[in-house]
Amino acid sequence: MREGTEAAPVEKPRGAPGETVLELREVCFRWTRGGDLVLDTVSAAIAGGEMVGIVGPNGAGKSTLLRVCAGLLTADEGECLVSGRSLASWSRKELARKTALVPQDLSVPFSFTVEELALMGRAPHLGRLGLEGAGDIALVREILSEMDLEDLATRPVDRLSGGERQRAFIARALAQDPRILLCDEPTAHLDLRHRRRLFEALRKRVEERGIAVLVVLHDLNLAASTCDRLLLLNEGAIAAEGPPLSVLRPDVLEEVYQTPLVAGTEPETGRPYVLG
């Protein structure tokens, strides 16, 4: 039953949040002109030193919101600020030194090895020649062992299982050494052990280096046990926002997910839980 525990137990109380690093101001997004709003006047602020979860039903706009934050999609109205500067004023390379993304699409058409993929995370920090130095390689080795990938370092990514591949992409994002880490369902393919290791790695960076993590999660219990704050999205708008306890209330969730469910608080840990 060693593996049976949920992801990393969260240490409380947490440090006071740092300054805002990522801010959304009344962001609206539609795929086509005049089409439905995928994001409807979303405003949020994420500070350094906190891990924020985006939760919500399918099609609520969670991934779209993350892509807007990553600068992959441009808001139709409103704006997204990184370190107080509008996203539009950042060059891609500058932004890549500041933010990293664990994408949902993990397809790799060529046989890059795990190490090669992870080293690509160093790209925004390299000089004109694009050659990695000893420091880059040492950092990537450390991250690979953190993600339990050191035995797979020389294997081609396209021959790995879904979970191994996802860890390789997470390693790449960590190698970018970002101030803001955006993760799109990073646990979709992970087993319990690696899920725990992932959140340990994220928590370590949040606590020690004060980075901001914005993570899309499907599993409400996982979100409750790992995140400092949750954004509950419904039909493109924020339905609830705040610490897990205040967001994961049965009345709120039943309306958003439109399904009867049981929610409560674990007596031992004081964490909220949800049963669908």
């Binding site: 891609r92 058409p109 020389t154």
Partner: protein, 397 residues
């Protein structure tokens, strides 16, 4: 030294315990897959591999100059005015230089297209880009013929002798430029079409894109054949190389135009080689690693189109070089484009020069020679089928 132990971690003992149980299975897998293991790119590996390929290019080049219908002696070649000197410097050298340029351009363009389309089977010929260039060149020649009474037409019709290209007096370098540009426009249009078809990122079956390319090739060939019936027999003969490529009988002045375009293009591609790694992981990954995706992709596509335009206007349709060479090299060197791209350029140059040498030597007793495009297709088409089958079976697993 191992960072593992340097990190304090409360759950480590349990973790180690779990790992120890897991190790035998993992080791077995590792043993099974060792043949696929590869070292990452180091400056040393980079220099060594490219130097080795450079030696191969030089070796092929020397053979191409020395071998042929008439065996030449090294001593005589260096004596200007001798027959051997004339054969080597006047016939074999321009042909070799053209082969190296065209092969290098096709190898580099193939590797680049494979990365930006995220499709290991992409190739300028298979995707119809070369066909589009040939169509552009054909249309330019016909337009020049129709305009031949005007002043502009006078300059451009000089260009149609370029197509016949039998004599070295076929015209100044300026006559190669409009055809080359028309071919580049044709190539660019086709590449844009293919990118548009491949657009629904990753969701499109990669084979559907190849199918689109094959269909476009058939279309371009049909249009060229159709146009051929509208012109005089001499002009029709001149349009033939655009259906099957050949390196023979090109004047230095035209090769020089191609060389300028191809070498500039190669410089640009090599400078952007590391971006190809990121683009091959998809738009989102590339953008989050700091690549301006739309701009970089557009620049690359324009540069490739110019290069393909230049090579097609000089050598016609030479297929499969861009498929075979990067593919073989990727098996040996790995997919890192910082090495793979320059290697594909050198490899493509050696491969095409080698194919042309084979074409020249194969039928000496009969006194004829097949076009080099037929040789590359003879090697490339079966390989393409093998790769296609292997790709499908891997996906099915």
């Amino acid at each position: 030294m191992t960072p593992r132990h340097s990190q304090p971690n409360a759950t480590r003992p349990a973790d180690q315990d779990y790992r120890s149980k897991d190790v035998p299975k993992k080791d077995m897998q590792a043993g099974k897959r060792t043949s696929r293991e590869r070292t990452r790119l180091t400056p040393r590996k980079w220099a060594f591999c490219l130097l080795a390929l450079g030696v191969v290019v030089l070796a092929v080049a020397s053979l191409a100059l020395l071998l042929g219908v008439r065996p030449v002696r090294l001593g005589m070649v260096l004596t200007s005015g001798s027959l051997d000197h004339t054969i080597v410097a006047g016939v074999r050298l321009p042909r070799l230089v053209l082969g190296l340029l065209v092969g290098g351009a096709l190898g580099g363009a193939g590797a680049t297209l494979q990365a930006i389309l995220r499709n290991p089977l992409a190739d300028p010929f298979v995707l119809g880009v070369s066909g589009g260039a040939a169509l552009g060149a054909t249309l330019a020649i016909l337009a020049a013929t129709l305009l031949s009474t005007t002043a502009l037409g006078q300059v451009l019709t000089g260009a149609d002798t370029l197509a016949i290209g039998e004599s070295a007096e076929a015209g100044g370098w300026y006559r190669a430029v409009p055809i080359s540009l028309a071919a580049a426009v044709g190539a660019l249009t086709t590449t844009m079409l293919m990118l548009w078809i491949a657009r629904p990122a990753g969701r499109l079956d990669p084979h559907a894109l190849l199918l689109a390319g094959v269909v476009f090739n058939a279309f371009a060939a049909a249009v060229i054949l159709f146009l051929r019936t509208l012109v005089t027999p001499e002009q029709a003969h001149a349009l033939l190389p655009w259906l099957v490529g050949t390196l023979a009988h090109k004047p230095w002045s035209h090769i020089a135009v191609g060389a300028v375009i191809v070498i500039a293009g190669i410089g640009f591609l090599v400078a952007n080689a590391s971006k190809l790694n990121f683009l091959s992981l998809g738009e989102e990954s590339a953008a989050s690693l700091g690549v301006d995706v739309d701009r970089t992709r557009l620049e690359l596509v324009v540069v490739i189109s110019l290069m393909i335009g230049a090579t097609v206007s000089l050598a016609g349709l030479v297929g499969f070089v861009g498929l075979v060479v990067p593919h073989m090299l990727r098996l040996v060197l790995g997919p890192d484009h910082r090495l793979l791209l320059p290697a594909s350029i050198l490899g493509g140059a050696a491969f095409l020069a080698c194919c042309d040498l084979a074409a020249r030597l194969a039928f000496i007793p009969v006194g004829t020679e097949p076009p080099v495009g037929a040789v590359t297709a003879l090697i490339g088409a079966p390989l393409f089928l093998v790769l296609l089958r292997r790709g499908s079976s891997r996906r099915a697993r």
